[in-house]
Amino acid sequence: MVFGFGAPGPSSAQKIAAAEAELELVSDTFSRLSSSCAKKCIPKDYREADLNKGESVCLDRCVNKFFETTMKVSEIMQNKANGQQQSGGGFGGFSM
């Protein structure tokens, strides 16, 4: 699974909760991605109803880069969690 959820959970309720959390993350990611990429690629004056060539290409690349960013960030946090044995605090890592 893309985002690292879905760890071995015994009960049905836990498995469904994990699947739901994965889903939540995917949908949250998409909604943040759309908002960021619309801001970066689509001018706010809306002079035409169609996406022009430049806007379309920008959106494609932006989605790709956002996706790469999620992977990159996940990797950085994984390294952190493994490498330096978190000093605790609850906001310093993403291990679950």
């Binding site: 759309s34 809306y46 959106l59 494609d60 989605v63 996706f67």
Partner: protein, 82 residues
């Protein structure tokens, strides 16, 4: 996801449907706010003026096309990852 058995799949399906409704609601009201923010800026009148309505039309159109395009790319990338 592959770890869910038939019964669990069924329950999860219901969760999915409820969420989908919420997603639509969120997408729709997000679209309304965004186009309103960009297109409606004249408060000397009480009702939408023609210029604002035309802008809303183009904005909704463009937003939906953009969202569809991004949705496709996103799904392709997710599929590659599996």
């Amino acid at each position: 996801m592959e770890a869910l058995n038939a019964q669990e799949q069924k329950e999860f399906q219901q969760v999915l449907e409820r969420r989908q409704m919420n997603e639509y609601v969120k997408m729709y009201s997000n679209l309304v706010q965004r186009c309103f923010d960009h297109c409606v800026n004249d408060f000397t009148s009480k009702s939408l003026i023609q210029k604002e309505e035309a802008c809303l039309n183009r904005c909704v159109d463009k937003f939906l096309k953009g969202a569809e395009r991004m949705g496709q790319r996103f799904q392709e990338l997710n599929a590659q990852q599996q």
